[in-house]
């Protein structure tokens, strides 16, 4: 696909949790808990508040189609602020400093007075019904080296994290209120690969502060995508960086397909019937379980839509799936349409009677929905609405990512009509002295270059290290005089290899690793023994004991005796091979000491012995 020719424009919104000691508006720890540890629960209903003009934000209205009861889990690490039972505390200054630092790294300008807002979110993920958010800095830039032609970092907001969905309408309050920064770029990316590259760059800059959370779920990307004649679509919650390019490709495909469908529908002079037909009677004796249980079955005729609803618009998704997503907002399980019938227990005869009742021509499609009265009535209107939108092409939407990179409809794009001031939080003046006094951390990319240069590490190893979660541990080890090479190998490879061998490496603490590396540095352990030591620690052996268990059983004097014996037994071989005997004899000697002695030491002792023999001393 020639994305540039298609007019692809994409921007990224990145959400990164900050690693602060307390939450954004209370002093609870920023610790995510296993849900099994929850101590209590309560439930609430949320409703959108009317605006001055009698408007309710579109996105909020969409969520209100169902009256939903939300359940919340509480922990001994959450408080009344998360429960929306106490006003928020003052804005966390540690979080504000980190977000300002990030702004500085992107070359942004701080807002002189930061005002906290309430952004309406009534999907249940915020107990209050809004997310607190503040615009902190604007107008940064993406360097030319990252994105051809450069780009803008438009805004940096400091927000509170939403509650984690446990399942359905049940949420866990441990995550609610963890500070996070939201960084929005301009729609400057023109290919899927550029989107991925920029996302990687943004993540690298964020991690350069050393003050952001690491691990799955601590960073999320939303991608804004449009193509020429298409529409702006925001895809939420891309957690894996590797999938970003694929998500973009699939969205381009979806928008292209929807545009092709639009053209065809127009050619067919397609339309959506305003009339809704009650077809409950037709299915009185049906075998379909869903239809049999329904209170009310309604149908709508989609003129000229025949065959279109079944058309694939991206892998695993049809126009019918899009329409079904809209209907599901009313609480129904899904829809049926004649493109896929007879099936699901609905007979050809019933389909025929349905088509007759709807006066459907051969190239028309009839969609039906079946549930309780109010749900069915709500859902059939949604079907008509989404089918009507197909005549215009691509609707502006917020969508959620599915595991394979395709997407499903979530809600309309939210407007500005969902923000109003958080009057319980005092605005924060950002004084020049504060801004100027904040240090700008070295970018991880620069640090990788420096490690290669100063520590003599291979550039790719240096980069891996700089980008690794274990970077602070590496710095600590090297500061403690551990050889950079050994530290790098242990942190980057050994731990990974042990994990691959089913060793529970998560039980090995940072202090354990430092202790092990120091033991090697001080000669109390051979570097070859590192995997064995770590494995023992993972198995529950205290570090000192693990190190002792793997300690060299052979002193240098013993090693010398062994080496002398081995060389003595093979004098002819050594004389014949000369210095070349070292390699083969290393194998023999290492086997004798069973890896408990550093290979370097073994080789130096052995070389001395060979040299001694060759120079005639040994005779």
């Amino acid at each position: 696909m020639d994305f540039k020719a298609l007019g692809l424009r994409a921007g990224i919104e990145i959400h990164q949790q900050l690693d602060t000691s307390g939450k954004l508006f209370c002093r609870c720890p920023t610790r995510v808990r296993p849900t099994a540890e929850h101590e209590g629960e309560f439930f609430r209903y949320l409703r959108a508040t009317e605006s001055e003009l009698g408007e309710i934000d579109e996105a909020a209205r969409e969520e209100m189609k169902q009256s939903r009861r939300f359940t919340y889990y509480t922990y001994d690490t959450t408080c009344l602020v998360e429960n929306d039972e106490e006003p928020p505390g003052p804005l966390n200054q540690e979080a504000l400093d980190i977000s300002l630092t990030i702004g500085k790294l992107f070359g942004m300008t701080p807002i002189p007075q930061v005002n906290t807002m309430r952004k309406l979110v009534i999907d249940g993920s915020n107990t209050s019904g809004f997310q607190r958010t503040a615009l902190v800095a604007v107008d940064g830039w993406l360097p030319e080296g990252v994105l051809e032609g450069g780009g803008e970092i438009e805004t940096l907001c400091l927000e509170e994290e939403a509650a984690q969905r446990v399942e359905g309408d049940c949420f866990s309050l441990d995550r609610l209120g963890i500070p996070l920064v939201e960084i929005t770029t301009s729609p400057a990316m023109k290919t899927p690969e550029e989107v991925q590259k920029v996302a990687e760059y943004l993540g690298m800059v964020l991690r350069s502060t050393g003050r952001v959370k690491r691990g799955l779920g601590t960073i999320r990307q939303d991608v804004n995508i449009s193509i020429r004649d298409g529409a702006r679509v925001e895809i939420k919650g891309v957690q894996e960086l590797d999938l970003i390019a694929e998500v973009v490709r699939r969205e381009v495909q979806r928008q292209q397909s929807l545009l092709a469908i639009r053209d065809e529908l127009r050619k067919r002079a397609a339309s959506v019937d305003p009339e809704i037909i009650d077809v409950t009677g037709i299915f009185a004796g049906t075998k379909s379980g869903i239809l049999k249980q329904a209170e009310l079955i309604l149908a709508v005729r989609l003129r000229g839509f025949g065959g279109i609803l079944g058309r694939e618009i991206q892998p695993g998704r049809r126009l019918g799936s899009e329409i079904s997503d809209y209907a599901k907002k009313c609480g129904v399980g899904g829809i049926f349409h004649t493109d896929e019938l007879p099936a699901y227990g609905i007979t050809a005869g019933e389909v025929e009677r349905l088509r007759t009742a709807a006066a459907a021509a051969p190239d028309d499609c009839v969609a039906i929905v079946a549930d309780t009265g109010p749900r069915t009535e709500c859902a059939v209107r949604q079907i008509a609405r989404r089918a009507g939108l197909a005549l215009d092409g691509v609707p502006e939407e917020t969508r959620k990512m599915l595991p394979d990179g395709s997407t499903a409809y979530m809600r309309p794009l939210p407007g500005a009509a969902r923000m109003y001031p958080e009057t319980d939080v005092v605005p924060e003046l950002i004084l020049d002295a504060r801004w100027e006094g904040l240090p700008t951390p070295e970018l991880l990319s620069a640090r990788a270059d420096r490690y290669a240069l100063e520590l003599g590490l291979d550039p790719s190893i240096a980069r891996q290290l700089a980008y690794s979660e274990r970077l602070p541990l590496f710095d600590q080890a090297v500061a403690g005089k551990v050889s950079p090479g050994i530290a790098a190998r242990t942190l980057l490879s050994t731990l990974k290899e042990l994990a691959r061998d089913q060793v529970p490496v998560e039980r090995i603490g940072d202090d354990d690793i430092i202790a092990t590396l120091r033991a090697v540095e001080e000669g109390r352990a051979a570097k070859e023994a590192i995997p064995g030591i770590l494995q023992r620690i993972a198995g529950g052996v205290p570090p000192d004991k693990a190190i002792a268990e793997c300690a060299p059983t052979i002193s240098r004097a013993d090693l010398l005796i062994l080496a002398r014996r081995i060389v003595g037994e093979r004098t002819a071989f050594v004389r014949e091979r000369g210095k070349g005997a070292l390699g083969p004899l290393m194998g023999v000697l290492m086997a004798e000491v069973r890896g408990s002695v550093d290979g370097k030491l073994v080789s130096s002792v052995l070389r001395e012995e060979i040299d001694r023999l060759l120079s005639g001393e040994g005779l």
Binding site: Q113, M117, S128
Partner: protein
């Protein structure tokens, strides 16, 4: 500082470029501007230039459902917010007092009754006065006289307990008079206002024929408790279920969302008899909490008062150094009533010497009345009779369920 008016379109230099937005206000020396993204930012006033002043937009008058054929309920507002609207253009939140606005914000009400709304005042409840209690009593009485099947009083929560007790003494209602409010502001989707309002409306129809407070019973949206107005107290600064009844607990509940009302045996049934109003209040009364070491000199401040409620320690004690000054006060004609700062349990001044001394000098035991209720009752008693003997008798009588005859288990 700026000559801008809230709502003006402005162009501002913020960051590296100019951007447009809506001027909101000046705050702490900064101009607060709402950007088109919805975010407010505070910037130096000098960096904003006026663009245009949009015409005021009139909210469309959408029809509101009228509960044809349903009983008439009256809403009297004192300033507690039951409904709000947000002006997203400026972010301003405004409280709604008009019945139509309240119905629009809480559509479920229309299915319960027809509503008439009366706005008495728009004050924060900490600014409430006995004078406004009197006006409120007259308003409630008037609404019942004019045929309201029940009256809902919206009230700030801080002093709701005092007001409910005051109206309980002043108005012999016969029909439910429901005090309600919200602990979380009405502009937020999670506000307790909607559930409290719906439960109150239901209680106004099917609740007890007396003055009560109807508020959340737990952190969940599961039910509201119906608290007797003379036995209820705000016991938490922020939780939804801040209101608690003294033992033996609430006199009823309203389930949510079914709005089914259930009443305890001692709830006073609704009656058809004419309401009565006795709106005299003597505000020369005070409530004083005794603390260890507090000098009796403080009593001099109350020398001119007609009544003093003491919140004593434990069973109803003050330092023995207070006995003589209190004796003098009573002698001078000040009514002194003892309550307990324990809040739970009964005053019993016959156990220790200090208590016996207090009784001897004429201090009245306040049974298990809440100190605030005792104060309000004293104001009402002294506002309706100047006869010391009659006042004493009234103070000792159980008029509105303000104390219990038997101490039932616990808190």
């Amino acid at each position: 500082m700026t000559s801008l008016t809230s709502g003006d379109r402005v162009r501002c230099l913020a960051g590296a470029k100019e951007r447009e937005g809506t001027y909101i206000t000046d705050r702490d020396g900064m101009a607060v501007v709402k950007l088109d993204s919805g975010y407010n930012i505070g910037i130096h006033p000098g960096s904003c230039a006026f663009l245009s002043r949009p015409e005021a937009v009139i909210a469309p008058d959408r029809g509101i459902p009228e509960g044809e054929g349903l009983p008439l309920l009256s809403i009297v507002s004192t300033g507690g917010t039951i409904a709000s609207r947000i002006d997203y253009r400026t972010g301003a939140v405004t409280s709604q007092f008009d019945a139509r606005d309240i119905l629009r914000a809480i559509p479920g009400l229309a299915g319960i009754g027809r509503f008439r709304a009366k706005q008495l005042s728009t004050i924060l409840s900490e600014n409430m006065t006995p004078g406004i209690w009197r006006e409120l009593a007259r308003a409630v009485y008037g609404e019942i006289r004019e045929g309201a099947a029940g009256v809902i009083v919206t009230h700030g929560t801080d002093t709701m307990g005092y007001s409910a007790a005051a109206i309980a003494f002043m108005v012999d209602a016969g029909v439910p008079v429901i005090f309600t409010g919200s602990q979380r502001s009405a502009d937020r989707p999670s506000s307790d206002n909607v559930m409290n309002a719906l439960c109150s409306a239901s209680a106004a129809l099917s609740g007890p024929g007396e003055v009560v407070v109807v508020m959340h019973d737990s952190p969940s949206d599961d039910r509201c408790a119906i608290h007797r107005g003379t036995r209820v107290r705000k016991m938490h600064s922020s939780r939804r279920d801040a209101f608690r009844s003294s033992a033996p607990g609430p006199i009823g509940y309203v389930e949510y969302p079914s709005l089914k009302v259930s009443l305890m045996g001692d709830a006073r049934p609704r009656s058809d008899r004419e309401p009565a109003l006795a709106d005299g209040l003597d505000d020369r009364c005070a409530l004083l909490t005794f603390v260890p070491g507090l000098s009796p000199d403080i009593l001099r401040a109350f020398e001119d008062y007609h009544g003093l409620v003491l919140a004593g320690s434990g069973l109803g004690h003050v330092s023995s150094s207070w006995i003589a000054p209190l004796a003098a006060m009573v002698e001078e004609g000040t009514m002194v009533v003892m309550t307990t700062q324990c809040l739970h349990g009964r005053v019993c001044d016959r156990v220790y010497d200090t208590g016996r001394d207090l009784l001897r000098v004429g201090v009245i035991e306040g049974e298990d009345m809440l100190p605030e209720t005792a104060l309000v009752k004293m104001m009402w008693v002294l506002g309706n009779t100047r006869d010391p003997g009659e006042a004493r008798d009234l103070m000792r009588a159980n008029l509105r369920g303000e104390y219990t005859g038997r101490s039932i288990d616990g808190f």
